[in-house]
């Protein structure tokens, strides 16, 4: 995603566009919509890539019913009747845009729009029976009707873009003999070359479907959305199926299963985890201690910190600082070989000393890139500053344009998103009036000026 556009979603009144980058940091005061922003990113992924109706109540983002999600300013009597969200990916010249309306109290994507190059398709859901599909090339367009194919019982599945558009193109006359008929009658604004372009666009849309684009992925894990507080460590774990959850409760079982079943991959992951552990000062070694020889045997996660009084001893995860167990789920997800292409992280710095927060910033720089996008909600200056410095000093492959800082600023009755950039010298560009004013005031008071 290169940019995300919202309209009348939660606290974001009117239309706003935010610049996205391989590493995007969300900053701002509490209750300014940062988590809502993460929620809409997941929803966009679900509706555009997985082609399902987004669940706005699924953890870690429970935004409530439609009436709580659409922009609503009771003091002014303003209540929108729909909200919109979309994104653009300039590499593929693709943009998606969705309009959500209230269907039985939940947001339903009644309108789906996708454009690829000069071609565009606008699918308006009319009923469980049919959708209106407008096919366009630049300003020429044609309206057709196709079967909706929506499973009304639980509203969870959308009929995929590719299929809908395929039907629409067929109806427009591309397939069978009706091309010439449609063209002869003057109903169709497209010639055969246009249909070739539209067909190419339809194939591009298929590429966006996740199974083609990311065949290695476990679909349950895409995207990875972490909760702001991760699960408590346990002294001893009983093995369980490692099913992804936002708090990372599955991580110990995942590590145990990997160490037992795939020692080669475990060695690589262990090496990466320990590299981060050393850089952050959290630990130098991580191990799975099993109390038996079967998959059903209980186990412990143990870590070792070399140096100081702890030298030589492995300690149980529960016996060391909370920072390790709170960070482990995020770091493991970031470093696993089948990591998903989109990470949505909430305050990954929780419980971490500033030096470990800074190391986390470097880690984000090293794992984000064209194939993996990280969106990180944070209150940590240490993460942001480390990112800024690593980019400036060339310690990462990320270029200044690969980092976006989104500042969420509260207004009287809404929130504005400001897109802040970095330059090659580490300078912060496009910061709005009032950005970091609190810090300036605190510093002035601290110095005594």
């Amino acid at each position: 995603m290169d940019s995300v556009t919202l309209k009348d979603f939660r606290c974001f009144r009117g239309e706003q566009t935010a610049r996205m980058a391989p590493l995007t940091l969300l900053v701002g005061e509490n209750s300014t919509g940062k988590t809502s922003f993460l929620a809409i990113l997941r929803a966009l992924w679900e509706v555009a890539v997985n082609e399902v109706v987004p669940d706005f109540r699924r953890e870690p983002y429970d935004l409530g019913a439609f009436s709580e999600i659409v922009y609503n300013d009771s003091s002014r009597g303003e209540q929108a009747d729909s909200f919109e969200a979309g994104f653009r990916d300039s590499e593929g010249a693709v943009s998606f845009r969705f309009t959500f309306q209230d269907v039985d109290g939940v947001p339903f994507p009644v309108s789906r729009y996708v454009s690829i190059g000069n071609s565009w398709f606008d699918v308006q859901h009319q009923s469980s029976l049919y959708s209106e599909v407008r096919i366009g090339i630049e300003d020429r367009d044609l309206l057709t009707l196709v079967e909706s194919g929506v499973r009304r019982a639980n509203y969870d599945l959308l009929r995929g873009f590719e299929g809908v558009i395929g039907d629409a193109l067929g109806r427009a006359g591309r397939k069978n003999e009706s091309v010439s008929q449609a063209m002869d009658t003057g109903d169709c604004p497209f010639d055969e070359d246009d249909f070739k372009r539209l067909e190419e666009a339809r194939e591009e849309i298929a590429f966006w479907q996740i199974r083609e684009r990311y065949p290695q992925l476990n679909l349950e894990s895409a995207p990875f959305a972490s909760a702001p507080v991760r699960s408590k460590p346990q002294r001893t774990y009983d093995p369980s199926r490692p099913i992804t959850d936002p708090e990372g409760a599955y991580i110990p079982s995942y590590l145990s299963m990997m160490s037992r079943r795939d020692p080669g991959s475990w060695r690589k992951l262990k090496e990466r985890l320990e590299s981060f552990g050393t850089d952050s000062g959290l630990f130098d070694e991580i191990a799975v201690e099993s109390f038996g020889k079967t998959d059903a045997s209980p186990f412990q996660i143990q870590i070792r910190k070399i140096g100081g009084k702890l030298k030589g001893n492995r300690r149980n995860l529960i016996d060391v600082g909370y920072g390790v167990s709170q960070t482990l789920p995020i770091i493991t997800e970031l470093l696993r070989s089948d990591a998903p292409p989109l990470f949505l992280l909430q305050q990954p710095e929780v419980h971490l000393h500033p030096s470990a927060q800074a190391a986390l910033g470097s880690q984000f720089c090293s794992v984000s890139g064209p194939d993996r996008q990280l969106v990180v909600e944070t209150h940590s200056d240490y993460i942001i500053d480390r990112v800024r410095m690593d980019v400036r000093d060339g310690k990462t492959d990320l270029k200044p344009e690969d980092v976006s800082i989104l500042y969420f600023e509260r207004g009287e009755s809404d929130v504005k998103i400001h897109s802040i950039r970095l330059d090659a010298d580490g300078n912060v560009l496009d910061a709005p009036e009032g950005y970091r004013q609190f810090f300036a005031d605190e510093l002035t008071r601290s110095i005594g000026l």
């Binding site: 200056d381 010298d425 300078n427 560009l429 910061a431 009036e433 970091r436 810090f439 110095i447 000026l449």
Partner: protein, 156 residues
Amino acid sequence: MCAIVDTNVYHEVFSPGSQSDAGKYFYDWLMRKNEGTIVSGGEHLRELNQIADFKRVFAERLQAGRARRIPDEDVDSETETIRSQGICNSNDEHVIALARLSGARLLFTNDGALQNDFRDRSVVEGTRGRVYTTVQFKDVRKTHRYLLRRSDLCDG
């Protein structure tokens, strides 16, 4: 608008107990919403970085996008170029280099020779440099207010 603070007046701006009224006015301009930006780099930054309070302010203003750091190697190289040309009357070629590279055309200094160099368009091209000074008056005068209200003292 962007400005350079000469090391000979840093205490008037950044040091508790040594602030002049005009220095505090300048400091407030730097710290208030949507007002000033300062630039530094090279020898200028190495000198000022020895002052703890300046370091803290500069680091914070960098994070806020209200300070710009010009790469040290660029400032040092430009300083050498200016020095070899022998065009400055002052011995503050590094400040002139910073002005040339950053586009800053406002300088807070009490050094007369540097003031002349900074205002000389054959030394610093483009918009003529303006000087914020407390040589005559340490209290806030109309000139101080006028200079900090200007929006045209940043080239490029």
